[in-house]
């Protein structure tokens, strides 16, 4: 099914294996007195499936918003395939497909209308949009609900339709914030297949998640973020060493508390 998806346009030249899809240089953001992101520098290699993990409130969403042109950073730079997101936003946005977390959609449109809208806003040709919308809806198992208003979708369906909107223009870099949250296991597997074949054809995917298992399974690179700084970054094997990613994550982030205090919770 994933073959129905358009391959990323203009795959990175094969003779530059070291090409970087996303490069963050000292990104920082402060909200009032709280420093949400404290100078993050990261290189996401082109053609990688990159996981961004961190505890709640670590600054994942803020970082990704700044990297994708949704939130102006206080300091630092974000380059998408060498294009500065904040100096040449239009050029960078053509290369980018994003799925933000915790935002609304134009949910009084039908699913089909919403994805078409995303394509038309990018100035794409009507027939190309129409063809890709059908492909995407079928691949994401939404064809039966194409005419339902997005406001009536379930949480998982909403995620999927937002993902379809991010894929419509065949970007070279996909930045997905919590793409698997509230998506059912079957759809999640389908999405993973789609993303894997997208990476295999030369695209780059960045996903944020706090499900370590999933990241260890699907990603080849990972960065651990906590309190707005990068604690570790590299290939999954480099970061996790001998243990599981989850153990390494807990070791890096800390904060595990034992359940001793809740003795009254034992029902026996």
């Amino acid at each position: 099914m994933s073959s129905q998806l358009p391959p990323p346009t203009d795959p990175p030249p094969a003779h530059r294996p070291e090409a970087v899809a996303l490069s963050l240089r000292g990104l920082a953001k402060r909200f009032g007195s709280k420093i949400a992101v404290n100078g993050i520098s990261l290189d996401v290699p082109a053609g990688s499936f990159y996981g961004l993990v961190g505890p709640n409130g670590a600054g994942k969403t803020t970082t990704l918003s700044m990297a994708t042109g949704l939130l102006r950073p206080d300091f630092g730079q974000a380059l998408v395939h060498g294009v500065d997101v904040w100096r040449s936003p239009l050029e960078a946005k053509r290369l980018l497909g994003i799925l933000p977390d915790g935002v609304r959609l134009f949910d009084r449109l039908t699913g089909e209308q919403l994805v078409s809208y995303a394509g038309l806003l990018r100035g794409m040709d009507r027939s190309v949009v129409a063809g890709r919308v059908q492909d995407l809806l079928r691949a994401l198992d939404l064809a039966g609900d194409a005419g339902t208003l997005v406001v009536d979708y379930s949480a998982g369906m909403t995620k999927k339709i937002a993902l379809a909107s991010a894929l419509i223009h065949a970007p070279r870099l996909l930045v997905l914030d919590e793409p698997f949250e509230s998506v059912d296991p079957v759809s999640a597997a389908n999405i993973r297949d789609i993303l894997k074949s997208y990476v295999a054809s030369g695209g780059t995917v960045i996903v944020s998640s706090h499900v370590m298992d999933l990241v260890q399974r699907v990603c080849d690179h990972v960065a651990v973020i906590a309190a707005g700084t990068v604690l570790a970054a590299g290939t999954v094997d480099e970061v996790r060493g001998n243990g599981s990613l989850e153990d390494r994550f807990v070791e890096l982030v800390g904060g595990r508390s034992t359940a001793e205090g809740l003795s009254w919770l034992r029902t026996s």
């Binding site: 939130l71 933000p100 609304r104 039908t110 089909e112 209308q113 806003l121 039966g144 194409a146």
Partner: protein, 523 residues
């Protein structure tokens, strides 16, 4: 438990105030307004005491009935006007029903309307101070009447919230309830006419209301003062029975609401119909226009303002025919144009965080502005045309057509240009997507009215050439001024539109991320 619920409400209030000073200002303004109303009511009630007891009776019964009715109707019109103690939020807690009812009733009294009603009901005692027996009964009946207000209002909101689980119901009820609100003027006019035509109208109305749950409790002190003890007892019984009945119905529907989580039944629909997206050209600005047009129909926040347009025409017609002068009715066209254009001045605030799609696709500011303006003008131009021509035909004053068209065109085009700038520059708290069109987050009204008011002044200033020419036309009666007004309206309006889209577009391009951040505060 009851104290806990009351404390919960106070804590929620305090925390929301701590979060935004705007809300604090809103509460202070609301409080001042309430204080003003209260002062007015207190003085009125005390002075009323010197009047003839029959008159006191009519005033108190009719006024009191209106208060009870208001408590029942206003929360529905403003769906969720204060749902901080929404029963749906207690579904997972095992709160005993009796205590939940008492807590919710007391919680309903906390707030400006509750305090005003309570104090006013007790001030009734002062009105009856010349009749000792009535003065003793008055505070008791007043308190009971206040309880009835709260219980009836809670009954209505709980019953509605059971229905309101579905999105379609929310959408439709939100729009439909404005019809009586807008027609309030003619309704009040009718009642006033009734008073004027027959002096006994008030007495008869009060007598009827006294036998209904609305007015029964308010009539008891008057009956005693007038020496009708038996009638007083019967009215009292009607009132108490109403409270008991409302309580019983409320606890029943609350019990149901607590075990029936909101469920939204949706029929699956497969695609194939792109609506406006398929009909308009495939360019970014046309896509924005198609999205806007779709929202004008599907989003109650937009369609509500669309619905007010014909209602305004109806109101102007009736008020005009009552005053025997349809002069104001002739201005329906320009008024329509004015209302329409202003409704897109908060477009990005209405998008809320869905605006990220525009930002991430890199659609240019000019395309975004032009699309939203175009979407409005696509139906706004024909609508304004119809609303300009038809009233003139009805009143048989077609000779005013050029000047009216000039005013309509000027306001429509200039206003669209101005709105294109305003919505790219200012955002304010508006009802969120899916909320009732009339729900406004408290406190933000102040900033919003400030921007709106200045905006109106600017719009009038920008349309001044057309307006002055129209004034000249009406003073001199020279048709030339009418035609000049038409020319000015079209030419200056078109220029303002183009300029507005350019300036707004430039602002949009430089401030896109800041706009997104500004609207995400309100979510």
């Amino acid at each position: 438990m009851v104290a806990d619920l009351v404390r919960l409400k106070l804590t929620l209030l305090r925390n929301s105030l701590r979060r935004s000073t705007g809300q604090l200002i809103g509460l202070i303004l609301g409080g001042l307004y309430g204080l003003g109303v209260l002062g007015f009511l207190t003085v009125g009630l005390v002075l009323l005491g010197t009047a003839d007891p029959h008159l006191i009776r009519s005033v108190l019964v009719i006024g009191g009935s209106a208060a009870v009715l208001g408590w029942m109707v206003i929360p529905v019109a403003a769906a969720g006007i204060d749902m901080t103690l929404d029963p749906a939020r207690f579904v997972t807690f095992a709160v005993p029903m009796r205590q939940l009812l008492a807590g919710l009733t007391l919680g309903g009294l906390l707030g400006v309307p509750g305090v005003v009603t309570l104090v006013a009901a007790l001030t009734q005692t002062a009105t009856w101070i010349r009749y000792p027996a009535a003065a003793v009964v008055a505070p008791v009946c007043g308190l009971l009447a206040v309880v009835l207000c709260v219980v009836a209002s809670r009954l209505v909101t709980t019953a509605i919230s059971a229905l309101a689980g579905t999105r379609r119901f929310k959408d439709v009820s939100g729009i439909v309830t404005i019809i009586p609100l807008v027609l309030l003027g003619p309704i009040i006019g009718g009642i006033t006419a009734g008073f004027q035509n027959s002096p006994d109208f008030a007495v008869v109305l009060a007598d009827v209301l006294a036998w209904t749950p609305l007015g029964a409790l308010w009539a008891v002190p008057a009956d005693i003062a007038l020496g009708n003890s038996l009638q007083a007892l019967l009215h009292f019984l009607v009132g108490v029975a109403s409270i008991v009945l409302c309580l019983w119905l409320w606890s029943a529907s609350l019990g149901r609401a607590l075990v029936t989580p909101a469920y939204n039944s949706v029929t699956r629909k497969s695609g194939g119909n792109l609506g406006w997206f398929g009909r308009l050209p495939a360019t970014p600005s046309a896509a924005v226009a198609a999205r806007s047009l779709t929202y004008w129909v599907r989003d109650p926040r937009y369609s509500a303002s669309l619905l007010t347009v014909p209602l305004i025409a109806v109101v102007l017609y009736f008020s005009g025919s009552q005053a025997d002068s349809l002069a104001a009715f002739n201005f329906v066209g320009p008024i329509t144009a004015f209302l329409l254009v202003w409704s897109i001045s908060a477009d990005i605030s209405y998008d809320n965080t869905a605006f990220w799609l525009h930002l991430s696709t890199g659609v240019s500011g000019r395309a975004d502005r032009a699309g939203r303006a175009g979407g409005l003008l696509l139906f706004g131009v024909p609508l304004a045309l119809v609303f300009t021509v038809v009233p003139l035909v009805i009143t048989g004053s077609l000779e005013h057509l050029p000047v009216m068209l000039g005013l309509s065109a000027g306001l429509l085009l200039t206003g669209t240009g101005l709105s294109s700038v305003v919505s790219a520059r200012y955002t304010y708290n508006v009802p969120l997507p899916g909320e009732s069109p009339f729900r406004t987050p408290p406190g933000t009204n102040f900033a919003m009215f400030g921007i709106q008011f200045v905006g109106w002044l600017v719009l009038l200033a920008l349309a001044l050439p057309e307006i002055l020419l129209a004034v000249a036309y009406f003073i001199t009666g020279n048709a030339l001024f009418g035609w000049l007004s038409l020319a000015a309206g079209i030419a200056l309006g078109a220029a303002a539109l183009v300029l507005g889209i350019r300036v707004g577009g430039r602002w949009y391009d430089t401030r896109g991320p800041e706009l997104l951040q500004a609207v995400s505060v309100n979510k």
